[in-house]
Amino acid sequence: MTKIKGVSGASLLVAAAIATQASADQWSDKFPHIKNTGDIAGECSYESMSKKDYSGQTLTINTHAVPVMGEPTALHAEQFAALTGAEVNVIHTPAGDLYSKAMVPFQAGQAPYDIVFGFSNFIRDWKQYLEPVPAKYVNMVQMKDVTQSHIDVNSWDGQMIQFPIDGDRHYLKYRKDVIDNPVYQEKYKAETGKELRVPQTWKEYAEMAAFFNGWDWDNDGELEYGSAEVMKKDDLMYAAFFSRSVAYSKNPRVKGGFFFDLETMEPLINGPGFVEALTDWVEATKYVPPGGINFGLGDEINSFGGGQTLFSFSWDDAFVAAMQDDSPIKNKVGAAPLPGSERVWNRVSGSWEDTYNQAPYIVWGWTAAVAKKSKNHEMAFDYLCFFANDANHQADIAIGRFGVNPFKKSDFKAELYVERQGWDPEIAKQYAETLMEMEEGSTNRVFPLRVPGVFQFNSAVATGTSKALAGQLSPQEALDEVAAEWKKIVKRIGPDTIREAYAIGVALEDAE
């Protein structure tokens, strides 16, 4: 907790609100969602919003399916409507179709939605159709509390395009009751000669997962497995792959691009670092639950959150699900940074460097933005600002199915989770520290690919890697295929166009 220095006014208010938890105000009477904190003063608080009058105006929002992100969108829409008199329509779309559902009307010159929810990496394709966040909002106190990583993710070349409403990251989740269990530690040592500890490298991760695969180690009568991961060929798969790749491929001593060589725009995706990661991943198909090779994010959450696996490493959701009150493994899980590697590829020298390496992957997350063609810009930004106001945000992050996760500096306080959600203090501390470290501490981050045609690139990755996972191709062959596909895409869209966009992300990485 020592690292939290710039505690903002708003977060002090949070602390105050926690202290006077039961002190209900008029807003929490009316809106039970915020009963824990009551309204928290701010630019977009309940109090402020109630002074706006949008009656007679309609706000249309395209968001994700219920419940993840979809339910809070609808809930806050209802509240917003009650406060301002606006009519708010919310449409729910499966994740895989959010991009196209907004992109089709954008390209056709239609403006059916005022607000579109999506992923941060849509930004390059969408930005020409989006209204930048006005200075008024960028400079407000509420925004000052947002971590720099999340400001960066939502901005394009220094200009904020998307509105931060959610925090996302990949980190390691593990079963604390197994890893910290002296009996298992001894057993593991006896059989493998190694320490059972929070895995520091992907190799350790693999060994432990394999060791704890396929037997009933928590004595519940069901078999347990090693790891639950997103391996289904859908739109999230590539993110899991990059999380496994960064440690091998992101060399802090090499500048100028992770996905491409910025100078030549040659894909790096089939380099030895990536091949190593994919080889690990193919190996991982041996310690996932039955059908694990077809797990989407939902399956991963159900699997780890339901106590079926030892490890999992994607978004917050699985951890939050595991820590919910009705979970059988509440307070039995731990959070840690993603594993690293014993060596890292240096593409300049063309050789492996045998040093420990670890690199956070700033994975895409949920964001929302306002359509340029919308006729209700002010109302739309007010809604987003209201969505993310402190009272709503605090209430939202406590509900696992909402999919709203910490992204404000004030979120990374262990007390919050201990007092509100009954977490074990040790787990809460570890969780808050892990996240904070990723947000503010690392100097070796990888930003997601945010270039024109990002879907084509990611789709190619998903196609290639899933062929490797399915055993259709060897890792090298699969990634060569991806690289060839990437080259074609680059050629089609234009190397300069892509370089221009990619340079912005690389600049962020290299600045560190």
């Binding site: 895989g96 179709d97 991009y99 196209s100 992109m103 089709v104 954008f106 390209q107 394709d125 391996m231 289904k232 060929k233 859908d234 739109d235 639950p289 039955p290 059908g291 694990g292 090779i293 077809n294 399956d299 159900n302 699997s303 079926q308 024109p452 045609g453 879907f455 084509q456 789709s459 196609t463 899933s466 062929k467 996972l469 399915a470 055993g471 259709q472 074609k488 089609r492 869209i493 166009t497």
Partner: protein, 288 residues
């Protein structure tokens, strides 16, 4: 009959259909000659570049075609055989005849995309009932994530959904057959198997051909099932043509290229259906 009134009957439907379709088809043709893409949404003109790419540099499209043929022909064949079998059984006296008839019709009344979501949970490899039951026999087939089995799973769902369609058409056909040929056959002392091959099947040939063609047309569009069940995976194991077009068009937003894919697909399909129809007529009608 030949009266001027005939146009009053034909034209409303024909013109409405043409009016609705003329723009989409024209636009698709134009689109296929452009490089419209997520980044560059405009109707530029690049000639037949998309088509060149399609024929010279897109093995995945042609693989998807092969997979589509395999899936649609196999499922329609299974649907036909099973549908015919069931229709034959409930055609004649059987206990709870009407109950079974209703029951057998129900799957086709359900929305494929919704039922497939249910099927996905049904075949869920660690949380679904199928593998739970099979675990007693110590097997755990990877219904959705094995390269070969996932195709089979898609087929199971398709067969479940659409066998009733065959069943309905064939049962209605059976019920409308004249009685005399059967009488004659029984007088000649033909057993049930001979009667089937020499009387029932030939009489049912025209209906069968119609039903098979219609089902093939519908099956060739297979999309919802794949979309929900496997997203075309694992790898590209269950990726069919329309799903591939969907990926290129609505996932990767290569509108221009997907338009070229669409048109090529349409032309191939129209030609194949014409040939298939002719072949079927030859095959099944010559049989008697």
């Amino acid at each position: 009959m030949n009266f001027k009134h005939k146009y009053l009957f034909l034209l409303p439907g024909l013109l409405v259909l043409l009016a609705i379709l003329i723009f989409p088809i024209g636009f698709t043709v134009r689109l296929s000659l452009s490089s419209w893409d997520s980044f560059y949404p405009a109707l530029d003109f690049i000639g037949i570049e998309n088509y060149v790419r399609l024929f010279t540099d897109d093995a995945r499209f042609w693989e998807a075609f092969g997979r589509l043929s395999l899936l649609s022909v196999t499922t329609v064949f299974l649907q036909y055989v099973i549908g015919f079998g069931l229709a034959l059984i409930v055609w004649k006296e059987i206990a709870f005849q009407r109950f079974f008839r209703v029951l057998f019709l129900i799957p086709m009344m359900t929305t494929p995309v919704i039922m497939t979501v249910i099927w996905r949970t049904f075949f869920h490899e660690s949380l679904g009932p199928v593998n739970d039951i099979l675990s007693h026999f110590n097997v755990a087939p990877l219904w959705l994530s094995s390269e070969t089995l996932s195709k089979f799973t898609v087929m199971i769902v398709e067969v479940w959904q659409w066998t009733p369609f065959m069943f309905l058409l064939l049962l209605a056909g059976l019920l409308s057959l004249p009685k005399e040929p059967f009488l004659a056959a029984s007088i000649d002392g033909a057993g049930p198997i001979r009667t089937f091959f020499y009387v029932t099947f030939p009489l049912m040939a025209p209906i069968s051909i119609g039903a098979i063609i219609i089902r093939l047309i519908e099956a060739s569009k297979i999309m919802d099932t794949v979309y929900v069940l496997t997203s075309g995976g694992p790898g590209t194991a269950t990726e069919t043509s329309s799903f591939y077009i969907f990926i290129k068009g609505l996932r990767e937003f290569q509108f221009g290229y997907s338009a070229a894919l669409s048109l090529t697909y349409l032309i191939i399909m129209i030609i194949s259906f014409t040939i298939i129809a002719k072949l079927l007529v030859k095959l099944m009608v010559r049989g008697n």
